[in-house]
C-alpha cells in the first residue's frame, strides 16, 4: 500500500485497511468473472479481424455522431449505431468479451452498491471520471 496516501491514519488503521484492500482486490482478481474478462480481453486483442471491425465501428460511430450534430436526427443516428453494434456482436471474440465484461460489471456493481450504501457516498460517482465528460 502507498503509505503516503494514507499517512493521516494510525499505523494499526493502515494495516487493517491495507489487509482489507488486499483481500478485496485478491478476491476480485481470483473470481471466475474477472478471469473470464481477462481471457476474453487477451483473445480479443490477438484477433486481427475483431480489431479491424472495432476500428471500423469507431470510425463509423464518429461519422454518425458528426452527422447527428449537423442534422440533429437522433432517432436515425441511434438506429444506425444499433445496427452497427448488432453486426459487431456477430464476431465471437467481441461477443465473448462483451458478455464477460457484463458479468464482471454485475459483481463489481453489487460490491459498489454495498460500499456506497454503508459509506453514504456514491462510490462510482465520486471515484470515477465525471459522466459529463
Amino acid at each position: 500500500m502507498n503509505k503516503e496516501l494514507f499517512k493521516e491514519l494510525r499505523e494499526d488503521e493502515q494495516s487493517r485497511l491495507s489487509a482489507a484492500i488486499w483481500n478485496f482486490s485478491s478476491a476480485l482478481s481470483s473470481s471466475q468473472e474477472f478471469k473470464e474478462y481477462e481471457t476474453t480481453f487477451s483473445a480479443l486483442n490477438q484477433d486481427e479481424v475483431a480489431q479491424q471491425e472495432l476500428r471500423a465501428f469507431k470510425q463509423k460511430q464518429q461519422e454518425i455522431n458528426q452527422l447527428f450534430r449537423q442534422n440533429g436526427d437522433r432517432e436515425k443516428a441511434l438506429a444506425e449505431l444499433g445496427k452497427l453494434q448488432s453486426s459487431l456482436m456477430k464476431n465471437p471474440a467481441i461477443a465473448d468479451h462483451t458478455a464477460a465484461q457484463e458479468e464482471l460489471m454485475v459483481i463489481s456493481t453489487e460490491a459498489g452498491t454495498i460500499l456506497s450504501k454503508n459509506i453514504g457516498l456514491d462510490y462510482a460517482a465520486v471515484c470515477g471520471p465525471s459522466c459529463c465528460g
Binding site: M1, N2, L5, F6, E8, L9, E13, R16, L17, A20, I21, W22, N23, F24, S25, S26, A27, L28, S29, S30, S31, Q32, E33, F34, L104, M105, V106, I107, S108, T109, E110, A111, G112, I114, L115, K117, N118, I119, G120, L121, D122, Y123, A124, A125, V126, C127, G128, P129, S130, C131, C132
Partner: protein
C-alpha cells in the same frame, strides 16, 4: 439459481468486509456524522434547498435570455447565506475529505487489479 460464481460470491463478502473497515476510519466516520447532523438541522436543509432553487432559476434565466445583474446578485446573496452556515461548512469539508480518501482507496484497488475499479461499476445516475 445464483447469479454469481462461487468465487464472485466470495468477492461480494470481501466487499462487505472492506466496507466495514472503511466506516471505522475517521474520514468516513466524520463524514457520516456531518451528514447526520445536516439531515437533523431543518434550517441548514432549507438553505440548501434555497440554493438549489436559486441555481435552477439562474440557469433558466440564462437560457431564456432574461438574465440580469440583479438575478446574479440574488443568487450570490443565497450563496453567502449558505457559506455562513457552520453545519453546511462542516458537511462540505467532511465530504471533500471522505471523497479524497475514497479516491485513494480506489487507486490502491485499481493498482492491484490492473483496471480502474470504479469504471467497472454501473452508474445509477448520469448527469
Amino acid at each position: 439459481m445464483n447469479k454469481y460464481s462461487p468465487t464472485g460470491l466470495s468477492f461480494i463478502t470481501m466487499a462487505a468486509k472492506l466496507s466495514d473497515e472503511l466506516v471505522s476510519i475517521a474520514n468516513i466516520k466524520n463524514f457520516k456524522g456531518a451528514q447526520k447532523k445536516l439531515n437533523e438541522e431543518p434550517g441548514a436543509m432549507e438553505l440548501l434547498r434555497k440554493l438549489s432553487a436559486a441555481r435552477k432559476e439562474l440557469s433558466q434565466k440564462q437560457i431564456s435570455d432574461t438574465f440580469t445583474q440583479e438575478s446574479l446578485n440574488d443568487f450570490y446573496d443565497v450563496q453567502k447565506e449558505v457559506e455562513k452556515n457552520s453545519t453546511i461548512n462542516e458537511y462540505s469539508q467532511a465530504q471533500q475529505e471522505a471523497i479524497q480518501f475514497l479516491k485513494n482507496v480506489n487507486f490502491e484497488i485499481s493498482q492491484l487489479i490492473g483496471i480502474d475499479f470504479s469504471s467497472l461499476i454501473k452508474r445509477s445516475n448520469t448527469c
